[in-house]
Amino acid sequence: MNSLEKLIEECSKQAFDLNFTHAKKWKSGDKTRALVGYLPIYFPREIAHAMNALSVGIMGAGDRKQIIRGDAYYQSYICHLPRGVIEMALDGSLDEFDGFVFPAICDCVRNLSGMYKLAGKGKFQRYFDYPQNFDAAIGGVFYRQELEKIIDDISAVNGMKLSIENLNHSIKLFNKNRELIEKIYDIRQEYPWRLSALETYYIVRAGMVITVEEHNKILEDVISCLSADRGEPMDNIRVVISGSFCEQPPAGLIKSIEMAGCYIVDDDFLLGSRWIQGSVAGNSNNPLGELVSAYLNKSTFSSAVYDVGNPKGKRLVELAKKRKADGVIFSAASFCDPALLDRPEMQKECDAAGIPHINFQYHENTGQFKVIKEQAGTFSDSIKLWA
């Protein structure tokens, strides 16, 4: 077994390899393998896995790539993520990818799917519409049809057919994956000093660019390392971060919040990996139906999902309570309509529950964290003062 330090180092390398070297190498191992890039937030990777395809999370270029051409495609008042995603399409980083999936989370990602179509990038560019009706006979049927389109897309690339057996196998692997990630969050809930939020971020994000089998192994190793104590408990407050589900905050921002005296005990940074709450039935005669039902009934709360009847503000408060958080930090990408339009109502719910909160906005390539660090520091101090 590798040491935790080594595992973290390896994960941080994988997580930010914008050339996706590992995934491309995996693809070259067999002619029937395919690479499917997907954007935030959620894509049921099980179906790709069951068809010998690797789904690779394209989370933007962050502060790791200089945007040369991408900026010419977007006005200043549009968030940063799509610039990096176009840049990668234009600079050849995604050339070995067979297709792309654009989940229905906002109009930027939606229109980006059309830009990929116009640019002829990949063999398919699929806008993946999430149903906003949660009745199995209506939204469920629609969602299944959406999944079937992607199944056909992959099949057209590599000739693979989706079998019940394979899909059940993939479902089990991803159940395990989510279970292990949750286990890490649970350990951090009790011993947040053993693994920092940034280290956790690297570990989870690496799972978006390597195979689930490899990732499960890493997660298991990390968990066994975490049984021993590491680091020292500090006089930090505990916070939940909300609003960072798509354009990712730079690593420096996560670090700054921690250094300002906040243990991040839950977050929505890489929400797609934790989207389904709990397991999907893995021994069914209708595994695709199980994925549909999991989406309808077990999805986490998110700005991309219509929430009348199950408001996300209330669910955020529940999460904060479950994690015994002292406060919530609303941290959203600038110009991110979905996150920012949700904020006032979510703040109201926090107020009603007596949960203190602060908010700030960032760009994925923000380089200055002084103000954010100060803000988080003051937040932490004020909570400690009144505790």
Binding site: A104, I105, R110, N111, D129, N133, Y306, D337, R343
Partner: protein
């Protein structure tokens, strides 16, 4: 002759004014008269269905744009920002929420009634969903019906998508409408309305396509949103709408016969110098000033995408009395902002060619990701495909902080100069060699 022309014009304008005044009167007394009120959106609106239950529609975007024109939006937006809305988000939403915080006075100054039903026709814009989640919390207890419109991601409308929408209407939207209105769904009545819709749609297309004439008798952007389009949304399906569009069409035909250009706020445009296709919504806070920059330069907008957010009828769609619910589904999915980017490019290209435009211009709106994200790529494609000069300006719908008159005027003047030069070159090239 000019007298007759004036009479025709006044007649259609008078009809419009009276229809709108009546609607707002009805809205202001809805609670007393027992009429039920439905808040819903323009793109993918179910006007016929709402009217078939004798309910009254309120369109929050129209209230927002009217607030912009009446110079009230700046204060409304500020108030919404005070309660936590970011400076970065869609200003239509903030303007609407600010208006509610300030007593919900509508465009005519009369108080708008609270909704009895929130009908979220989630078509072509993600923000609509957020908007209604916010409204739902501002009006607790008011039922919400969600109609999710699938995006035309493949550039076509499929039978499965239609079935999904019809099911939502049958299982959710219509039962909620029945409950709120206390009336049974009346399919024959809905079909009858659709006969009227199709008639109005035929007329609307003829009016918009009249801009293919040289000179164009209409401005298909400014006038398109100012007096050609507005009635369409709230009254489609009624006999009054058919009568109005008949009048308007007669007026347009008369202008064509006389070889007249469009009517502007300062009278008739004397010389059509440039014909443009415009993509993107207009600015409302400085609408007149904005329009004036164009007509002062003799620029006429012969086709625009914004007038198609409520339906792209010129591509052939008509509401169909024989399949009312299916045609509502098709209608919602066919709206401009629900078309994928390649379709949008194709449509704009068709406009440039068929309307013999001299240029293509984008007014990019800070607020609106649905329109704006991808526009720079649309611009490149249009430039390559059509070879006409392309222009790009930026403003906002209802936030006056983002309307810089001097900046826009400068940019447009340079753009018009470019068009002028190109005209000279083209004219020279078309002359036989000496």
């Amino acid at each position: 002759m000019s007298e007759a022309k004036e009479v025709i014009k006044e007649k259609s304008m008078l009809i419009q004014k009276e229809m709108l005044a009546k609607l707002f009167r009805e809205l202001s007394t809805a609670k007393e008269s027992g009429k039920k009120v439905v808040y819903t959106f323009v793109p993918g609106n179910l006007t016929e269905l709402i009217l078939s239950f004798d309910m009254l529609p309120v369109y929050p975007e129209i209230n927002a744009l009217q607030s912009g024109m009446r110079k009230k939006s700046a204060a409304y937006i500020r108030d919404a920002e005070k309660i936590g809305f970011s400076e970065d988000v869609c200003t239509y939403v903030k303007c609407d929420i600010g208006m509610m915080l300030n007593g919900n006075s509508g465009p005519t100054g009369e108080k708008l009634p609270a909704p009895d039903l929130l009908l979220l026709s989630y078509t072509g814009c993600y923000t609509f969903m957020k908007w209604f989640e916010n409204l739902e919390r501002l009006y607790p207890g008011v039922p919400v019906a969600m109609l999710h419109t699938p995006y035309q991601e493949d550039g076509k409308i499929t039978a499965d998508q239609i079935a999904y929408m019809v099911k939502q209407m049958k299982e959710d939207v219509i039962p909620k409408m029945e409950k709120v209105s206390g009336k049974k769904f009346d399919l024959p009545r809905l079909s009858k309305m659709m006969e009227n819709s199709a008639k109005s749609e035929d007329l609307l297309v003829k009016i918009l396509e009249s801009a293919k004439n040289k000179p164009s008798p209409i401005d298909a952007y400014f006038a398109g949103v100012y007096y050609i389009g507005p009635l369409f949304t709230a009254f489609r399906g009624t006999q009054e709408a058919v009568d109005y569009y008949n009048e308007l069409y007669k007026e347009v035909q008369e202008r064509i016969r006389l070889g007249l250009g469009p009517v502007t706020p300062e009278g008739e445009l004397k010389e059509e110098r440039f014909r443009l296709v415009v993509e993107g919504p207009p600015n409302w806070t400085n609408f007149r000033e904005f329009w004036k920059i164009f007509y002062d330069m003799g620029a006429v907008i012969v086709a625009s995408s914004y007038t198609k957010v409520g339906g792209v009828y010129d591509l052939g769609f008509r509401h169909n009395p024989k399949e009312p619910l299916e045609s509502l589904a098709r209608y919602c999915m066919g709206c401009y902002t629900n078309m994928n980017l390649p379709q949008r490019v194709q449509l704009l290209e068709k406009y440039v060619r068929e309307y013999k435009a001299d240029g293509f211009l984008i007014n990019s709106i800070k607020s609106c990701n649905s329109f704006s994200a991808g526009q720079l790529m649309i611009m490149r494609e249009l430039e390559q495909r059509c070879g006409v000069p392309v222009g790009f300006i930026e403003s906002d719908l209802v936030d006056p902080r983002y309307f810089s008159y001097a900046n826009i005027k400068n940019r447009l003047e340079s753009y018009f100069q470019m068009l002028e030069q190109r005209k000279i070159i083209l004219e020279r090239e078309s002359q036989p060699a000496q």
